[in-house]
């Protein structure tokens, strides 16, 4: 066989190719998917959960579900948003389970581990400033903000996912938005 062309590595393949191979049972392709999207899913899960205590478990559960459901995924181009949906489901399952054991008022004022000191004004870059601002939000506000802005959920999707009325979600997002706008104002 003539081999004039450079061998293309799986690491450079597009999501659809990788998802197709993984759907067929190719573990190597799934590993590339894990490396490509896993870190963002972990960061997202940590933000939705409010701490990284359960990130490992949630992301593992989510990717196992993804592996099993990949053969039925129609639109493999939208792999990332599909993965975000699965991670959201698994994260919110955990949050709900936690609520059975804790008073909701306590959760409101919880802060992620090790993120007490940073404030938006002390950050050295815009995105760091926003990370710090996000960390100051009450947990429900940050969670709704991530579902809306990262996973692209509609107000109704969030309401359904969290089991709260549409109007409550609107209110939570309005408070989050206002707080973030004011905190980031100094960075204009």
């Amino acid at each position: 066989m003539i081999d004039l062309l450079p061998r293309t590595s799986l690491a450079n393949a597009d999501d659809r190719t990788l998802a197709g191979r993984a759907a067929d049972g190719d573990l190597r392709a799934f590993e590339v998917i894990l490396r490509r999207h896993g870190p963002l899913m972990r960061a997202y899960a940590t933000r939705v959960l409010g701490s990284n205590d359960e990130t490992d478990d949630v992301v593992q559960e989510a990717f196992i579900v993804a592996w099993r459901q990949l053969p039925n995924l129609e639109n493999t181009v939208a792999l990332k948003s599909w993965l975000l949906r699965i991670v959201t489901n698994k994260s919110i399952d955990r949050v709900r389970a936690r609520r059975h054991h804790a008073d909701i008022d306590e959760l409101e004022f919880e802060r992620p581990d090790g993120e007490t000191a940073a404030t938006a004004m002390e950050a050295t870059s815009l995105d760091e400033a926003l990370s710090a601002a996000l960390s100051t939000l009450p947990e429900d506000q940050r969670r709704c903000w991530m579902l809306r802005e990262i996973a692209g959920y509609s107000y109704d999707d969030i309401a359904e996912q969290l089991g709260l009325p549409h109007s409550t979600i609107r209110g939570i997002l309005a408070r989050a938005r206002k707080s973030l706008v004011i905190q980031m104002e100094g960075w204009r």
Binding site: M1, I2, D3, L4, L5, P6, T8, N12, A13, R16, T17, L18, A19, R21, A23, D24, G25, L27, F30, E31, R35, G38, P39, L40, R42, A43, Y44, R47, D56, V59, Q60, F63, I64, W67, P71, T76, T119, A120, M121, S125, L126, D127, E128, A129, L130, W145, M146, E149, I150, A174, R177, K178, V181, I182, Q183, M184, E185, G186, W187, R188
Partner: protein, 213 residues
């Protein structure tokens, strides 16, 4: 915290509008156009803030993801170890043989693996999903192989496709008794060649000095 900035002062009343209304306006791609928003300097300032907030939320999470990646990847083998036990066998493809010695078959999953391996020997193209069309469970039944693929930008795609088809055909006739009537390759993506591996540089998200408060 500079609580005396113009927006912080006026955030609850932006020329008669609320932040929430402006956010909804952005969600609707500013349609239908609303003159009381479009011609209000205060609203324009707030809209710019909201747009920046959206962009930065994505950037912030990407940076957090990069930090995650630096923390290590021991979670990857754990997941792979778990799902590696779940085989996608698919249909059972029999070999013709003397039935008195028992049954002989290869799984559809294994055949897909053969096809991927054959495709991977060809440069300039990566094959994706593989479908065996036809009743592979009946010996001697003619089937076709449908393959999705992505090609490398700049590679002569026709040459690569012909090579992939030949490689798959050869592999299947060597290792199986499938009667392959055709191998169809559909290229769905042309990917940019990646630059040679170099020390990773972090994404440039540093604020312009003029942006500093």
């Amino acid at each position: 915290m500079s609580g005396d900035t113009p927006l912080a002062q006026s955030v609850d009343d932006l020329d008669g509008h609320t932040l929430e209304e402006l956010s909804d306006y952005l969600d609707r791609d500013r349609t239908p156009a609303d003159g009381s928003i479009d011609h209000s300097p205060g609203c324009q300032l707030a809209l710019a803030s909201l747009e920046r907030l959206r962009r930065l939320t994505g950037l912030a999470l990407e940076r957090e993801a990069a930090n995650e990646a630096e923390r290590g990847d021991d979670w990857i083998p754990r997941i792979l170890g778990y799902i590696g036990l779940e085989v996608r066998a698919g249909r059972s493809i029999p070999f013709a043989h003397d039935e008195t010695i028992g049954s002989l078959a290869i799984t559809e999953g294994a055949v897909r693996g053969l096809i991927r391996d054959a495709g991977d020997t060809v440069g300039g193209i990566v094959i994706g999903r593989v479908r065996l069309q036809g009743d592979v469970t009946v010996p001697g039944e003619s089937i076709t192989v449908d393959v999705e693929a992505s090609a490398l930008w700049g590679a002569p795609i026709r040459v690569a496709i012909d090579e992939v088809r030949a490689a798959i055909y050869e592999r299947l006739t060597t290792h199986t008794e499938l009667v392959v009537a055709g191998v169809d390759v559909a290229v769905h993506d042309i990917s940019e060649p990646q630059p040679p591996a170099s020390p990773a540089s972090p994404p440039d998200t540093t604020a312009d000095p003029a942006d500093r408060p």
